[in-house]
Amino acid sequence: MSRDILQPITKITQYGLLLAIACLVVVPLTLWAQEGGNQAEFVCPTLHEKQDATPLAMGRRLVGTLGCERCHLLGQGELTEFSRSLLDDPWVLNNEYATWRNSDRHAQAYATLLGKRSKRMGSLLGVADVSRDARCLACHATVPVEWMTDDKMMANPATVGAILDGPGSALVTNGISCEACHGAAGNGTGPNETPKGWNGPHKPEGLITEAFKSTWRFNSIADKQATNGFYDVRSPASRTRMCVSCHVGDPERGRLVTHEMYAAGHPPLPAFEVETFMRDMPPHWRVLGTSEAPVDSRPDTLHQKPANVTREFLERTNDSYFAKLRTDKPALFNAITDNFHTSFDRTRSLAVGAIVTWAQSSRVTAALASEESHPLIPSAGRWPELAVFE
């Protein structure tokens, strides 16, 4: 774990780090202490509240990636008045889909299962077809593992086949696509298609108006998640929780690389650190704030929100962290806002992410050490599971 924490430190300005850690520890402690006077809430409030919310488990349908291209892959067709307005909007990049499709390895997650190594693993493990096995697809496709299991039993090729041979096949073949991280975008299956998904609300009707900004863009991410199933990838804890579900493991969702899989040839899961891993992704997002010099040599000014956009966000967002800072500590808030440095957000993410990663790792160990067998945890009741050892 210490290695996780130390790795990015070399990449982040030392002074920024110290400042940010000071802010990180002092500010939230003060805020939470004022709010409830209960420090226990600081231990892991986000984790505690959201531990069962994952992008795919919020009771909504998946819509797939086709609709995303319309706005997030501009330049494909004729520019409309609306798309032209998006080009002028510094909030979105307009090429998110292309970045993911062309350069993000998550898009290859399913294709990996068709490769030579995967076939070899399958034959060693006695798995007929790894590209139709729930234990593999749980992380290599954008389908909740519950869809692939029959009466809570393990891997049912027929059920997976039904998805693969049906209209939803792209959810599998696209690997880890938009909704795997951002949440299922469709409406739910309740009366009148409730709960409502985020696919509708996140799109402006016509040009981007102040009203749209108020109802969606600067609405709190917590509210978007609770109301519309738009998963919170902005808060460090929530974001890390989403990543570690696969990158560390999430036995309750059938996501687990067992010692058996390693022995058969699964590459080792590298020690996870959320900021390092995000830097290794081709970013399809813009970070808050600016840095005078790009960290390492990568020119990432394109992926920073311009100063005016950052300021507008900080001043208007209903995200609890910044909202509380704004009302409770205006002086500090102004000091931060006037020169918002990317390392502020990144270091916060680094530290919170380390805790969340550690917590997830502990949950995995706890689940595996449990005496009870579990249909989605192939190793349960077979302690020691050697995969959790060095």
Binding site: R117, S123, L124, E260, A263, A264, G265, P267, R382, L386
Partner: protein, 484 residues
């Protein structure tokens, strides 16, 4: 002893030397029964030893007119090596250095890793490296004698009561039982001799080269009686058993004794709630210890084994590989099948493992004395050669299994040529071809290629190609058996 005998023993040593080279590092044959559960083969006799006659120290044997002479006896009465037994031991027997091994930098590094004090003060180390120095209250002088290493009495028994009688003229005519009642160990009995070696070289309660020790740097124990016996500079003449069949018999008795000791060790480990469990030294080293490259021959191997899945702990078979063959079992692994199954669980049940090991040990222990007493002839030796080399013995052997087959074949080969008088056999004869195959097998089984500087303590390559090459040599030997 004839000169040719000496030659073929040194040949035997050559065959075995490289293969078991890793063992030679801490080569100490020792026994003393201080903390030991009685060897089941001779309960009554061993209890007499446990009645604790005291140690007199190896120095008592060193008189020039006793065992510290400079030349072996010119007369043919008794053992001609007896006058120089101590001189040979101190000059060329590695057991004489087993205590000083504890003073090396390597030992210091080991104990440092284990968080222990000086190695030469650790009971766990002294138990094998200087068994006579372990309990000063058991010495006549009330002083421990650690510098002896594995000295005379470690194998021959504490001499307090037999030191004087054994100098008398009538000693040679005394019965073994009488001698043992005085604490003198009857090492002419190959079962007892094998137990004496295996006490340390396989292990016994209190003498446990467990995974902690191996991880800290202690060489893995790979005991095979006939191979190690051949490497020992002998200060005696073997008389009771036919010298021609000695290797064959040492091999078969050794197989049973190794299994007995190993099972007893497993029982002790399972029974001790403070001992690590699962104890990893019970398992096949090379199932885990390898680079993590993919694809690799180890992944391939695990898939080829019946009932084995990738990443599972594989119970070690060094001490059991050819036990069914030695016992004449026709149903393969019958005796150990249940225990193997239990030990293959990720977390074996201690009680079950202990009781299964115990009942298996009782069965094997009963075989030791009958194997030691059984006269062997050329027919049986050739038959054993044929059976060890039979192609269907195991399709995809582990390195341990193949190495045990090799050692068994080598022992049988020596006894075969000794019995048939084919030592100087001409090229092209069956014995000569078999020798070439054995040389090739040794090369194939070596951890590192000759001349390679790096010290690999595991088979670098044990893939389908290598296994096929090994299989071909076994086939050649099998086809060449001159079955009467």
């Amino acid at each position: 002893m004839s000169t040719s005998h000496t030659n073929w023993l040194s040949n035997c040593a050559l065959f075995s030397a490289l293969l078991v080279g890793t063992v030679s590092h801490g080569d100490e044959f020792a026994t003393s029964s201080f903390e030991e559960i009685p060897p089941p083969h001779s309960t009554a006799r061993t209890e007499a030893v446990i009645a604790m006659p005291k140690l007199v120290g190896s120095a008592s044997c060193t008189a020039a007119s006793c065992h510290g002479g400079s030349d072996r006896a010119r007369v043919s009465i008794g053992d001609p090596w007896s006058p120089v037994a101590y001189s040979m031991w101190i000059a060329s027997d590695p057991h004489a250095h087993s205590y000083s091994t504890l003073l090396t930098d390597e030992s210091a590094r080991m104990v440092a890793k284990l968080g222990l004090g000086a190695a030469h003060e650790q009971q766990a180390c002294l138990a094998c490296h200087a068994p006579e120095g372990l309990h000063s209250e058991f010495t006549v002088s009330h002083r421990s004698t650690p510098f002896d290493g594995v000295g005379c009495e470690a194998c021959h028994g504490p001499a307090e009561r037999w030191l004087d009688p054994h100098k008398n003229a009538g000693w040679a005519g005394q019965s073994a039982a009488h001698k043992e009642s005085l604490g003198f160990r009857d090492l002419d009995d190959l079962g007892i001799r094998s137990h004496a070696c295996a006490d340390c070289h396989v292990g016994s309660p209190g003498r446990d080269v467990n995974h902690d020790l191996i991880a800290a740097g202690h060489p893995r124990l790979m005991f095979e009686m006939s191979a190690l016996h051949a490497r020992l500079p002998k200060h005696w003449r073997d008389e009771r058993d036919s010298i021609q069949t000695l290797d064959a018999k040492l091999w078969s008795v050794g197989q049973a004794v190794s299994a007995t000791k190993s099972l007893a060790q497993l029982e002790a480990r399972a029974a001790n709630p403070h001992a690590a469990w699962p104890e990893f030294s019970e398992y096949d080293c090379y199932a885990c210890h390898h680079n993590l490259a993919e694809p690799s021959w180890r992944q391939e191997n695990s898939a080829l084994r019946t009932g084995s899945k990738p990443g599972s702990l594989r119970w070690g078979e060094w001490n059991y590989a050819l036990l069914p063959l030695v016992r004449g079992e026709t149903d393969g692994d019958g005796l150990l099948a249940e225990l193997r199954q239990e030990m293959s669980q990720t977390l074996p049940n201690r009680d079950r493992a202990r009781s299964l090991a115990q009942s298996a040990r009782w069965s094997v222990a009963a075989d030791v004395s009958s194997l030691a007493a059984m006269p062997l002839d050329l027919y049986q030796i050739e038959e054993t050669l044929r059976r060890i080399s039979q192609p269907e013995l195991v399709v995809n052997p582990s390195w341990d299994f193949a190495a045990q087959r090799f050692l068994g074949l080598a022992a049988m080969h020596y006894s075969s040529v000794a019995s048939s008088g084919q030592w100087r056999s001409q090229p092209g004869t069956a014995a000569s071809n078999r020798r070439l195959s054995l040389v090739e097998l040794r090369r194939l089984l070596q951890f590192a290629a000759p001349g390679e500087q790096s010290r690999y303590n595991s088979p670098q390559q044990w893939d389908a190609v290598r296994r096929q090459q090994v299989r071909e040599q076994f086939d050649v030997i099998h086809a060449g058996v001159d079955h009467p």
